[in-house]
Amino acid sequence: MGIRLRYIENILAYLIIIPLLLLFLFPFLWLIITSVKEGTDAIAIPPIWDFHPTFNNYISLFRSTEGRSADFSGMLVSSVIVSVVTTILGLITGTMGAYAIARYKFKGKDFISTWTLSTLMVPAAVSLIPIFLLVGSLNLMDTYIALIIPYVAFNLPLIIWMIRGFILDVPVAIEEAAMVDGCSTFQILWKVVIPLILPGMAATSILALIQSWNEFLFALVLTRDMAKTAPIGIAEFITMYGIQWGEMTAASIVITSPIIIFTIFVRKYLVRGLTFGAVKG
């Protein structure tokens, strides 16, 4: 192929990808810009471009206001508690399950492993009604545990299948050697396997953390006040206090930026994780 043709093709590649990139980034750029605009500047049309950036929206976001049922920092704390505990519990139960699926042969194994994956198809809205009523009858409405248990379950397909792949990468001879030395199953898992798959477990936990951090429907229905998470707070900027775009966008940036950083941090494992190990990115 001619050098000139290749040159034209490369130019074309940039001409397509750069506008596409701008299109994909534009909502995020709008969030950032609006979050540092003052009051009415935020929603002015035509959009104001020569403004003085201010952090007032961020400051007022974290100033607790009398009468608010739960301030935004409280919601952030709830979000952190719920997603961290979810991730820890998910990682413990998921790694155990993954080890059984990766290393053992037992009756019904095929059925169980297919089933753990097929729970993926159950929409949150479908499991919501029974869980809502159960949570109500157990008097657990608006508690962390009411969110954590379902979140762990929702994360399990991802955790089990991702960790399973990492375990399969560990040479089985190492585990056999430990077995000869008289280690029990749990000792092998804890002392031999887990140290070898730590990077994979870290990546898995970040993906689980992101999923719980972002969850909306269960948090919307199962929390009122004390356990309310940050995504619900975002939606409330619109419904309850009128539309406060400055604070709403600032809050959006606050809850989105850690996720973006985490995503970039685990990008090597991102595709592998989100395809349950089907694609080794």
Binding site: W30, I43, P46, T93, A100, I101, V126, A153, I255
Partner: protein, 309 residues
Amino acid sequence: MATLSTRTHDAPIARKKKSKMNAPAIILLAPAVLLLLSVTLYPFLYLLYTSFFSQNLMNPSAKAWIGFGNYAALFKDADVIRGFTNTLVFAFGAVGIQMILGTLIALILDKDLPGMKAITIMMLIPMSITPIVGALTWKYLLTPPFGWVGYYLQKLGIIDQPIVFLGSGFSAMMSMIALDVWNWTPFVALILLAGLKSRPHDQLEAASIDGARRYQVFIYITLPFLKRFILIAVVLRLIEAFKNFTGVFGLTNGGPGNSTLLASLVVYRKALESFQIGYAAAIAFIFLILLSIITTPLIGRLQKEITND
């Protein structure tokens, strides 16, 4: 019977352990299985049971057995029918566009050109944005007079007057699809990019030495090789699109009218806004059955792809 299931599973050590290996596997799996049962089997049975009753959320104890009454009603309910058909239109529309656009982006990002790595990283941003934030941001951007989309389209001369994107059924559905495309096309592109990067180089070289044209290489080598990755992306995206709740709740809330109502939102509304739990349960149950008919083969295929390497 349980044993270390690898090529070496008939090694002496493993064989000796055979007789008592079932127990650890069961103990290891039990917590995960119990948790998963609590969000799948328990809701499934509960929904099935409740769907035969007329029951109000405000007074759950006063329930009346009505047999298949809820099921008879739901097939005549315009919102329910609309919710199911919209879900199909939305899912196939969004995933179709994601695949085409994702392939184009992956092919460009695969080029050995300066800046492509940085662009790939920046492409991660849409999929990292919390779903409710993405939906509300788009709602703002699409709503005149403040929305930037209408303003700049008008400024560029693409439209003459402000469009209320979320105001008509068709453009609201297009907006829903656009939101999902914006959110997830980069993910599709990343999967396909991983596929492109793992192409065997000797085949490509052999083809170019044999004088194959670029499009021939694409059609006869790249595309067959990408098939597996395309399949994985389609399966994962379709399943997620069928389940969509946050996007539609934030962007259109089903409107205008019921023109963007999705199945999950119908279930939510009947249960938590109209308080008809029995009826919502029947809808949820049918939704689950339809989903499992459509997605069981997809998930089977996905599992084959996961375990086949």
